[in-house]
Symmetry: C2
């Protein structure tokens, strides 16, 4: 009997394939300031990548601000505007396009799964020049975003593979916690600006610097060319 292989890779987007986390963070900071909610930037950084609903709950808890549905919607819209205003600064991370091209050429299935909304994700993901047919699951496609496992489960489902055979690649603790809940193995990347120990303590099987570093070490997770 041969060892079980890797069925597919499921990628987070911001901080994992795109160098966009800090722009997201400052867009949230700007949106909050416009609503006169003061929250330190590093605390926003630690919340980025989680579901918008949980983000707003965490905000309310940490700032004591009262955030009703209308205010949450205003924040979401201002964040989206602030992010799109910073679009020209955003780049693919080193090795991101090469990594996806390599997987495509190997015939290894992969999908993208982001807590972001379709309206912003479409514009940022176009920077990656994805090959045709790669599933992209966004916040609009599921009931609950990270750290719930729904985004990664939906992505595996779109590829027709069980999540238990997948590696989830992400830069935030929310990706890695969601990976555990999906019973997938998690690979952490430092390129979102979180510390190695934060990712390891959230259950990362392995941590690399960025997509280029993961590409150079794919054999460590059982992907062979």
């Amino acid at each position: 009997m041969s060892a079980p292989g890797v069925s597919a890779l499921l990628f987070d987007v911001d901080g994992t394939l795109l160098d966009s986390v800090y722009q997201h963070v400052l867009a949230w900071h700007e949106a909050l300031q416009e609503e006169h909610i003061e929250l330190s930037v590093w605390r926003i950084h630690r919340r980025v990548g989680m579901s918008g609903g949980l983000f707003v709950d965490a905000l309310a808890r940490e700032t004591g601000a009262s955030i009703d549905a209308a205010r949450a919607e205003r924040l979401r819209r201002r964040h989206a505007q602030g992010l799109l205003a910073r679009l020209a600064e955003i780049r693919p991370l080193p090795g991101a396009i090469a990594l996806l091209t390599h997987l495509h050429n190997l015939g290894m299935p992969f999908a993208l799964a982001t807590s972001g909304r379709r309206e912003t994700a479409d514009q940022t993901i176009s920077l990656l020049h994805l090959p045709g047919g790669v599933p992209v699951v966004t916040r609009d496609d599921v009931v609950r975003a990270k750290p719930d496992p729904d985004l990664f489960l939906a992505a595996a489902d779109r590829l027709g593979v069980p999540a238990t055979g997948c590696f989830v690649v992400g830069d935030s603790v929310w990706d890695l916690l969601a990976a555990q809940r999906a019973r997938a193995l998690g690979v952490g990347l430092l390129s979102g600006g979180y510390g190695r120990d934060e990712l390891e303590r959230a259950g990362a099987y392995r941590v690399y610097s960025d997509p280029a570093d993961l590409l150079a070490h794919l054999d460590e997770i059982g992907v062979r060319g």
Copy 2:
């Protein structure tokens, strides 16, 4: 014989008293993009707070770019412009003003020591409403910035105390490494967006979230009111 007391506190500024690290990071990113030097934002984040000269050396090493004196000066100037353009977003960190006021009322001497230049530091530090007579040492006052100990040694000297009796409070590994070289004890704050383990591994005697958290635990470092 009584135990040796704490002579003074020496504070880093950006990420320690001011919520300005992410603005510095994106101002550097913008300056580099204008010079067609591509460097991931998280890598810039990990370099912020070190001396400009070492930052440029690290840049050259990590990007392979050739950076002569004229280009380094252009980068420095563009970063300063980018930072000043973001000045309206910058706030004191929670508890920063209350902490400094408390130390002032206790009669505990303190000084500020930043790797930044006087031209930007004057404008950002004014947000802290410092009591009169607090020494502020900048990059312009010393030959070598962090992680060399010169900034903290100069700050202790301005207070007329030996650095060995001081606590250095900072948010980056460069602060904590410089503290060790000055033979001072280092206190790390998470408010610059670095991970706890990064600060502990750089020698932090103790790590707090932000100035408000340090203020609530001053007795742990031997400052009693």
